[in-house]
Symmetry: C2
Subunit: 193 residues, 2 copies
DNA sequence: CTTTTTGCACTGACTAGTCAGTTTAAACTG
DNA sequence: CAGTTTAAACTGACTAGTCAGTGCAAAAAG
């Protein structure tokens, strides 16, 4: 894999992510992707084989990034701050990869897609990182043992996703730390005994 | 508007909602919608004028329903239970109109659509119902005055949406009241002083 | 009561255009 | 030179939207 080719693939990724975030997968054409990437149409097929394969590669890239960053944040966090840091990692990822987050939300709930299972896998990996943090906290007694941590982690994940996209859409000038502080305030109340 | 025509329009609505929830707007063709509704293609154009107009009419129907049901729940609730009842109304709406909820999520975050403003309006109407409940509670002192109720209401809305779709997708056999109880438990902690 | 007319609702073949994907020969890059 | 990219033409399947024509029930005319 030459540096030149890697650069081309990165440009195609970026063009595809932004276009699909704007229009959805079905409404985005290969011609549009190639044009925005500043590349000939044939290059898409040379590098990825086709539109679906490009999108699948895109999702795979996103999977590894979001879940890994959340997991790394949980592991690096001082005891007792794991939840705070995981939520920060999710918020930061969405802030940095806004178009990818929009794309993920748009395609995540469409049930008949070829990549439906793949998208569910991303969500589940990310949610299970939150779930593991909550379970650890429950064993320490800092979270009520009666709490359904499965539902709670899905709730926390969705809360951050919604707030993050509203932040980028409606108030992009607010600093991330401000939004993070509010989320932590809400989350602490949600799960603290 | 004859009864026959009303029935046709209802069948077209239902077909369009389910197909767009499965595939997205851009990937859904008018031929598919007509076929699933058991109607000729021309009937779509006779009744709605076009694909976009059909979708816009669909969204308008959804707007009035979700926001109105949440507002009605807030107004009918005994003092102190408004938040609980509003969250129940949102959860129940999604449970009853699952396909519409999926469609809403899928199209809500695509920035370049003709109906982007319309979808944002739905979200804002629904979220502002929660915001009004929180503001009232803040004046009564049952919610910390320092809480950013704008962000908090967006967080609550997104939390319910995420949990509701996970519920319908992964554990549809669980009774709604069980999910509602968990959401109320989480929400109470989030906003109670 | 029968026949004719009216107009709403619907039909489906048709048009003009777009799309994903292929092929080619030539050009560039390291 | 091998690997990568380009530009352009092409195919066949599919798409949004159109329109002349059909079915049908209720009203009007005879």
């Amino acid at each position: 894999m030459s540096a030149r080719r890697e650069d081309t693939r990165r440009r195609l990724f970026h063009a595809a992510v932004s276009l699909i975030a704007e229009q959805g997968f079905g409404a985005t054409s290969v011609d549009q992707i190639a044009e925005r990437a500043g590349v000939a149409k044939g290059t898409v097929y040379y590098n990825f084989g086709g539109k679906t394969e490009l999108f699948t590669a895109l999702l795979a890239w996103g999977i590894s990034r979001l879940a890994e960053e959340m997991r790394a944040a949980a592991e690096a966090a001082p005891s007792g701050t794991a939840l705070t840091e995981v939520l920060r990692a999710e918020l930061a990822f969405i802030g940095e990869h806004e178009a990818f987050a929009r794309l993920l939300v748009s395609e995540a709930w469409q049930t008949n897609q070829a990549w439906y299972a793949t998208v569910q896998q991303i969500r589940n990996e990310a949610i299970s990182v939150i779930g593991a943090v909550l379970d650890t906290a429950a064993r320490r007694g800092s979270v009520p043992a009666t709490l359904d941590t499965g539902v709670a982690s899905s709730a926390l994940f969705g809360m951050v996703l919604t707030v993050a996209l509203d932040w980028r859409t409606l108030q992009p000038e607010r600093p991330m730390e401000e939004i993070h502080a509010i989320l932590v305030q809400l989350a602490q109340g949600m799960v603290s005994r």
